[in-house]
Amino acid sequence: MALEGKARAKFLVDAERCIECNACVTACKNENGVPWGINRRRVVTIEDGKPGERSISVACMHCSDAPCMAVCPVDVFYQTEDGIVLHSKDLCIGCGYCFYACPFGAPQFPQAGNFGSRGKMDKCTFCAGGPEEDNSAAEYSKYGRNRIAEGKLPLCAEMCSTKALLAGDGSEVADIYRQRVVSRGFGSGAWGWGTAYGKKGA
């Protein structure tokens, strides 16, 4: 890993800036070769067309104490030194429990529907691939591009035209966001952070 355990990888969505262009969704699909019907990232708009409208880009938040990781019956998840939550598609049995546990609806299945034929779970990897050798063909076909190993950050955030979506070391991301909130004087809701990176209560 290029971050070499010195960072705590986090996403932050600035809902005051997101314009629902869906470029993050498209960039993710393109970069990682994500199959039809799967959306590792999605944009949700609230109060669409009404006063107070906001859009939020959602994917796996790479939680500190990830519920998917806790609940998986076959224990396929692992967390890198940088806090990125990854999983092994070789071990996945497609039971869907991670989806029921996830606060953000991040896990995706190539075949939704019958519990018996869901296929292997797929989700955002923070562009960090999977357990296979970094940047190998096997890794790309199962998990998509490993940009982290190339020293790059997730493409969704890199592509974001309004820089609403930030990805990287949590402290730096938080720093940028803090400066924004101070200079504009409003909109300090770091969406999902309490749920993803706070302690999990009962």
């Binding site: 107070g52 998917c68 029921y100 995706q108 009962a202």
Partner: protein, 390 residues
């Protein structure tokens, strides 16, 4: 003994509600000093992972009706502050839309996953697994104390047909699939805790994939067996006054009395109705799991319960929460059923001489039948008498 089993199961279920997580009462906090916002006490309780009543946040979501007219100053900002909106997002009280198609794509945050996980890994495994071990131990003790229930005076040697081939087929269809479902279900629930340390993740993943396939598909055989046996035997399982006599002497299990019984005695009727009711419930929740997000049934059940019993179950459930409830209910029902069935297997095999024949080849010893189902034997003999005479 069946009633003891039942009370043990009820006890096990009741204890679920007294585990620390559930029993904690959130104290009433005075928030006047902060103007209704969270206090230091709230923050401290949350850090200690104690329960807090967060309705002061989850219900404080602003009022869109307070908005200035759209042409007026600040008219486009709506009637809610940023904090109101972010709290609404946090508690998923929003009106979302998204371009992405898929189940629950418009849910922004649902945080019941950890509670579901804790219930699954905690009480369900502990009490469920404990109940299985307890019933096995209880039966072992019973076996050593009471011994095998013998046919008094030895077998008569003549046989009488107790179950027709189709009845036995229905029984074994149900029984065979149930055992497969029980074992594969336990693998899914407990494999991570008990099998992965033994056999390693790769081997277990293969096993779990196979066991999941079997569990999903053999479920249809179970449901078919349930329907078959229900229609074949329901007429014989209507409770009657005779059952009360049977229960009063404890079925003669601890004494050597032989209370009168027709085709099914009260103990068997209890097993029948336990299997039917729990089997139906386990099948329904199972179907809900088989077709995720397409058969949610808990919100409606809860609202019906709330209106009848006046309880306060949540009725505004996200699709994920529906699945979590279905999953937990499925495993609790399955454990109760397994406990009952283990006792049923015991009494139908090693526990009683001559009992297995009833389902083995369908023909039981006449003396066994006279002792355990005297009125049924009389009925059969009367019918045969009629058949012979003309």
């Amino acid at each position: 003994m069946k009633s003891k089993l039942f009370s043990a199961a009820v006890f096990a279920l009741a204890t679920l509600y007294f585990t620390p997580v559930w029993a904690q009462e959130a104290p009433a906090v005075d928030r006047t000093a902060t103007g209704g916002a969270q206090t230091l006490e709230d923050i401290m309780r949350r850090q200690e992972q104690l329960k807090i009543d967060d309705s002061f946040r989850s219900e404080n979501l602003g009022n869109p009706a307070n908005a200035a007219p759209i042409g007026g100053q600040l008219g486009t900002l709506g009637g809610r502050s940023d904090s109101d909106i972010y709290r609404a997002i946090r508690y998923n009280s929003i009106d979302p839309s998204t371009q992405v198609r898929g189940p629950a794509a418009d849910v922004l945050i649902q945080d019941e996953g950890i509670a579901w996980y804790k219930l699954r890994e905690g009480p369900v495994i502990t009490y469920g697994g404990g109940a299985l071990l307890a019933i096995i131990a209880l039966l072992a003790v019973f076996y050593f104390v009471r011994g095998r229930i013998k046919i008094e005076g030895g077998p008569a040697g003549t046989k009488i047909e107790r179950f027709k081939a189709i009845e036995r087929f229905g029984h074994w269809l149900l029984a065979g699939s149930f055992i497969a479902l029980g074992l594969t279900g336990l693998t899914t629930l407990m494999g991570r805790s008990f099998l992965i340390p033994v056999m390693g993740p790769e081997a277990f993943a293969t096993l779990a994939a196979g066991s999941k396939w079997l569990h999903n598909n053999i479920a249809w055989a179970f449901m078919l067996g349930l329907v078959l046996t229900f229609f074949m035997w329901v007429a014989h399982n209507i409770p009657s006054k005779l059952d009360w006599q049977w229960i009063k002497v404890g079925g003669g299990i601890f004494t050597s009395a032989h209370p009168s019984a027709k085709k099914f005695n009260a103990g068997q009727k209890i097993v029948f109705w336990t299997v039917m009711v729990l089997g139906f419930s386990v099948s329904l929740s199972g179907l809900s799991l088989l077709f995720p997000f397409q058969m949610p049934m808990f919100a409606e059940t809860f609202s019906a319960m709330n209106s009848v019993l006046g309880t306060g179950f949540p009725t505004d459930l996200t699709p994920h929460e529906e699945m979590q409830y279905a999953n937990i209910w499925h495993s609790i029902m399955a454990f109760v059923l397994m406990v009952a069935i283990i006792a049923h297997i015991y009494i139908g095999s090693v526990g009683m001489e001559g009992a297995f024949d009833a389902m083995g080849n369908g023909k039981v010893d006449l003396e066994w039948a006279r002792q355990h189902h005297d009125l049924w034997v009389a009925e059969v003999e009367a019918k045969q008498g009629k058949g012979d005479s003309p």
